[in-house]
Symmetry: C2
Subunit: 415 residues, 2 copies
């Protein structure tokens, strides 16, 4: 249904959106043409945006003959946003300006299984340190985005039955931080933010239909469909880690058997390596195993050094991941699949079998329409997705004029 709104506000929203989505800058004449309104209307509104310090004039436009036009950009220093990635064992926070430029990053350790009462103070400390590092007072942060490793009911800012977050079920994460910070805060699933981060700042720019799959200890997936994060009815969409890839495989902690995660996640690779050593297979992992729990990283390193057992373990994992991705391609026909997470550091030993099985097991027309790419943002993917969402919310506040004007303009610190 169409909302009835004030025409001037509509024009202002439209103009601000165009400026926001033109990172290279856009001229008043181009805006007037795109919106099919008069130059005078555009100029009047632009003047008010400039007076509010939300928009800057730059002389850098590309001229089509004649004098160089003046272009408009969002003022990066009209405010700040913070994106936070709470993982199983870490918190990573990013401070960004209003054009998504990263000003500071901080990372700390935590154990998500200790519950919100232990973890949230650690997150708050990290944020304090981040703002200090970025020379940014709390009241210039316009919005926070927070990714967590479990299914999220985004509208309420809580997690719902999260498998690896004991003590967090139904805890009011959003409300807790908003009480602490007095700043609008938005919580979403880490893989959903991963998809949004890559789509906004990374390998997925310009692709409205993509899946971001993160192969770490577990295996998660975020979906961007028709340009929007797709969460499903209770926030559990994208649980590719629990797609069955082996009908008679080992039990998974979810209660099913042969889930992708127990066949191919980082923990599964490490456990299989341990079993191979115990079974007496000829592998360089055996020497490493004395007094040390093997990890997927050990397996990747051994594979690179020529250990055939390790190479086979990664190949098996890759084939299972390829099989699940082929199902995803058949069901969703995305234009792009972005693969991230630490296990991708194993390189071709895991990526080649993924590519081979995807080609073999997906419908040709869908396969031909799908690129596979590696994550460009690496360990920052989720936090940058949180930045992207926080920016959307910050712009909404800016447009509604719902921010306190600061007397002192912000300055971007040198990185």
């Amino acid at each position: 249904m169409n909302e009835i709104r004030n025409v001037r506000q509509l024009n202002k929203d439209g103009i601000f959106d165009i400026i926001r989505h033109s990172p290279e800058g856009v001229s008043r004449a181009e805006i007037a043409e795109m919106l099919n309104v008069s130059r005078a209307t555009v100029s009047g509104i632009v003047e008010s945006l400039i007076a509010d310090q939300l928009v800057l004039e730059l002389g850098a436009g590309v001229s089509r003959g004649g004098r160089r036009p003046i272009v408009l950009q969002v003022n990066p220093d009209a405010g700040r946003v913070v994106g936070i990635d709470i993982g199983a064992t870490h918190v990573l926070a990013v401070l960004a300006n209003l054009r998504g430029g990263v000003l500071a990053v901080i990372e700390s350790s935590l154990d998500i299984a200790h519950g919100p009462h232990v973890c949230l103070p650690i997150v708050c400390e990290a944020v304090d340190a981040l703002l200090q590092r970025g020379q940014t007072p709390m009241d210039s942060v316009l919005a926070f985005g927070i990714g967590v490793p479990g299914p999220v009911i985004a509208a309420h800012g809580i997690v719902s039955s999260p498998p690896i977050m004991p003590g967090w079920d139904g805890f009011p994460i959003r409300k807790n931080f908003e009480t602490q910070w007095k700043i609008p805060t938005f919580v979403d699933n880490d893989a959903d933010f991963g998809a949004l981060g890559e789509a906004t700042f990374g390998a997925g720019r310009g692709e409205p239909n993509l899946a971001y799959i993160k192969i770490g200890t577990g295996i998660g997936c975020g979906l961007l469909l028709d340009g929007r994060i797709y969460r499903g009815v209770v926030g559990t969409a994208g649980e590719i880690g629990h797609v069955t890839v082996s009908q008679d495989g080992p039990p998974c902690k979810c209660g099913n058997y042969g889930c992708l995660e127990v066949m191919a996640g980082g923990r599964a690779i490490a456990e299989r390596a341990q079993m191979a050593v115990k079974a007496g297979q000829r592998t360089s992992l055996a020497a490493l195993n004395h007094g040390h729990e093997l990890t997927a990283k050990d397996v990747a390193a051994a594979a690179k050094a020529g250990d055939e057992v390790s190479q086979q373990l990664l190949n098996d994992a890759g084939r299972h991941i390829g099989s699940a991705l082929a199902s995803l391609i058949n069901l969703l026909n995305p234009g792009l699949i972005i693969i991230g997470g630490r296990v991708t550091e194993a390189g071709a030993f895991i990526l080649d079998p993924i590519a081979e099985v995807v080609q073999k097991r997906s419908l040709r027309a869908s396969y031909q329409a799908s690129r596979i790419a590696l994550s460009e943002l690496g360990q920052h993917t989720t936090a940058m997705g949180a930045v992207a969402l926080a920016l959307d919310q910050a712009y909404a506040r800016v447009r509604r004029g719902n921010i306190v004007r600061r007397s002192q303009p912000l300055q971007s610190p040198a990185l």
Copy 2:
């Protein structure tokens, strides 16, 4: 981005949308409240809609005390739409009024493999007969919707590399019909229309996230995500029939092995029955097999009569379907899965194992959020989805005033 539009047109669109989405009727006061505009504004626009014969006044509103309010409804006879389902072996066409009421239905045989030059004249003949039956001149049809059994590039109205439509690849279906009929025509995939049909008129009313799976000769699936048909980047989303359910299964015509369709489609069930008879298994199907190619229908009938081999065949098929649906539930977390197609006539013999495996192999939170329901529209599902899309297009034309006013009002014939 927000479009800048004339406020009166915005109000008119908003008012018409409200009336359209209020099948029980809505009063002027309710509209004014919903849009937060004055009674006078609503009344002025409503008078013009009534004068244009697009909206009717009815005295049937529920009064909250005081006199019975007059309610407004879309005039069902302001125009007609036609929904067409072109299947592998049939064409089914439905004539509907502007409130989606079915006025006439017609069905003919065709063989899609004969190509467009043979099939399209058969479709045109069926439409002529339909309009005659519905006492409807062609120029009161505001839009046609046409479902076809292959991947569709909806924007162009063509199919792209359709596996079971030889001779149709790239043929301009939409343009061909529009030249013939001089009426806006929209082509989409039959399973996509199935999802839209059930969502608009059938088992999926009110559920914005659903999958419609059709188990016929083959197995197809249409997706409605966040209230919109999801097609993917080249129109091949929903190809659940080609999800691998048996890593070492038999070859599929798509080039892969062990696809759901070759393990559990109607043709696969029939072929497995034939093999069981040839292998000398004790089954009542053996007696039927003399001079008759066994069908999935035969297997369903034998199962109901107590034949254990047939029961096992259907159980196996159901388990494979359940496994693929569990993957879909894990990836998409839909609120509803609607199962249709002729193979569902086998009843509990196939539906029970589907339900059992779905429960076993999907993540608990997603499983609990998903209902499974049978199609309510049966063989009319795809045609009614085509009606739903044609209605959207017809309303868009009506709102833009882009229709020829007829001097003689249409009459709904008695069914």
